[in-house]
Symmetry: C2
Subunit: 378 residues, 2 copies
């Protein structure tokens, strides 16, 4: 593969795969969850803490960093890793997702996405070529091709036009990459129509990307539809390359997607939920502000070895959260990211020993599976 990226499959267990991604900034075991560091920082965390938990690859965002502080500035300071004080690898999303989430301030045409900056209203044109240029300048390990990410619902005609635009942008992205540029992943779109998902997968996988992502999911659709599309999306992805399911998801979602054969994930859930006072635990989701934790001397998760669970009681964390203390966000974020990292480690080990189906069944029969329902009622 180009860009100094190598992917080695270590074990397969049904469709599930354990592998190793070798990047210019070190090795990443897969299945891998990537903490989200949109603005060159994973919210509330220090880079060393991510490293200590076991993360070796974080996600950042080309659109956000292009606006502030700017790729030139980051390049002048040695690239995004040195800029952040992060010794591991970095993958950047291209900005396509922001074209959806910041829809009020953009216009999309063949050329690219014309934004008004969400910071100061300044005009910004993101094209496949400029997105590659930005990501190369940032010095990331893995770039994502610019795509159009539709919301839910969108009709078939609109979806087909969009995926075909994404295909043309993918071709332009590949052409725009410099010979020495970082690895580049293509993104499969196709909305919520199986035939269109397959069309997009055919078109994108026909191009020589270093890895393939399935995008456009977790955009407001029902959970079952997300899982159905994720399953269709993975069918045609080549086995030899890393497969990345973008923006997904809960622990149970990740277990399901690993079973389908995905290798990489990102999601704001563990970090954003933490700042809202919600912890993922082996006993289900825990809302720390709940009165029933007021005098609870137990850790967030009695089965967890993270620093938060070794240091603080639920009662103290509840107090910190109610008092608006920054330490509440820190402690819950660290716990949730540890929970996600542990899940990936357990999945890797189970795949290696050919017991992934048992692990997934056990976890989905455990109170952890309550996470889904508890989340929806929160």
């Amino acid at each position: 593969m180009a860009g100094g990226l190598q992917f080695t499959l270590i074990a397969e267990d049904g469709a599930a795969r354990a592998g190793r991604l070798t990047t210019p900034h070190g090795r990443v075991d897969t299945p891998a969850f990537m903490p989200v560091g949109t603005q060159a920082a994973v919210k509330a965390m220090a880079p060393q803490e991510l490293w200590d938990i076991g993360y070796r690859l974080v996600l950042s965002n080309a659109y956000h960093l292009a606006l502030r502080p700017g790729p030139g500035l980051i390049a002048s300071l040695g690239g995004i890793g040195p800029f952040m004080g992060w010794d591991g690898a970095v993958l950047t999303d291209s900005g396509g997702f922001q074209a959806m989430s910041l829809a009020a301030i953009r216009r999309i045409d063949e050329q690219g996405i014309a934004f008004r900056s969400h910071l100061d209203g300044r005009a910004m044109l993101l094209t496949p070529e400029s997105s590659i240029r930005i990501q190369e300048e940032l010095g990331v390990d893995i770039m994502m091709a610019l795509d159009e990410c539709l919301g839910y619902p969108a009709d078939a005609a609109r979806t087909r036009a969009s995926l075909e635009l994404t295909t043309r942008w993918a071709q332009r992205s590949l052409r725009a990459r410099g010979e020495q540029g970082p690895a580049l992943f293509g993104i499969v779109q196709g909305g919520f129509f199986p035939a269109l998902r397959r069309q997009s997968a055919r078109e994108i996988t026909a191009m020589p990307f270093d890895g393939y992502a399935v995008g456009g999911l977790s955009v407001g659709e029902p959970k079952e539809l997300m899982l159905e599309m994720a399953a269709i999306g993975v069918e045609q992805l080549p086995k030899a390359q890393p497969r990345y399911l973008m923006g997904v998801g809960t622990p149970a979602d990740l277990m399901a997607a690993i079973a389908m054969g995905y290798d990489m994930f990102d999601c704001v859930l563990p970090t954003r939920n933490a700042r809202n006072g919600c912890a993922f635990t082996s006993a289900g989701r825990l809302t720390i502000k709940n009165q029933r934790f007021a005098t609870d001397a137990r850790p967030l998760d009695e089965n967890c070895g993270c620093r938060t669970c070794r240091s603080y009681s639920r009662a103290y964390l509840r107090h910190l959260f109610r008092a608006g203390e920054i330490l509440a966000a820190r402690a819950l974020t660290e716990h949730n990211l540890y929970f996600y990292a542990s899940l990936m480690r357990r999945a890797q080990a189970a795949i290696a020993s050919g017991t992934y189906a048992q692990l997934a069944r056990a976890l989905c029969a455990s109170p952890m599976a309550c996470i889904e329902e508890m989340e929806e009622t929160n």
Copy 2:
């Protein structure tokens, strides 16, 4: 002394003293700065980080903790140290300062201070007796007697009436302390009148407190007046006991107060300034949002060994601050507290070697002394 507190003078250098405070929760070298943890957390910091920097004594607040989460809850979880996950010692202010800072919601009479909770409007009566009861229940190492802290200015008649009330409250505080209760410090008031400061010091030091504090300063008066009153305040304090200058101050203030013979300090400056983007450095005060740091690859302070200065450039910290990232508050707070801790260590060493006057002169001739002026223009 009572309450398991011992104070040992190790060295004197002019009026400056180096000593050792032995508390039920370990040893504290003096001169000592206490980070402010009003709500049982030093804002943005984890307890282990405070410990790693070298802090062994933090300050918290009886009024705030009485309202939330309540002393009974903290007692049921083992006291404030175990509640916070803090292995060091804790001193609590009594709530007298809040009677000034939250003036709109309180009424003071002979009995005590009637607050309306700043959280929910609930009525709360803080008396010398209830303040002691709360602090005993919290399980602190050092309690402060309830005092009335006047603002600036206040006339002589009002100031005399107030200091005499503080004296009567001090007597009641001593009587209220249980036989096995923690150490208790009395507080000298007297506003900005030398004669009244001396009257208060006579009255308070006539009582068998375990240490003596000078309060009512840093309440809006000119710097020179603060230093003049601090100098008068220390004159009559017994040599054998710890002397605590409350609510002070900048690095230069601390150097001056140590020269006067004070042993203990607390102030929100290092932590609050950090959250506002201001760092104390050996080259003066640094406002991180300043455009001139946009591409500055240097650490906050080129002479600093703290984790922030070993990990992050000014350019990255400026980016974090502008982006509103929690890591900005964390990193600057850790740096500022390291700076204050280093200052105390240097003062201790200089006193031990009889060179404190030279150290103070050198520091005040250094760019660090710019802190004053830069602060005022910010």
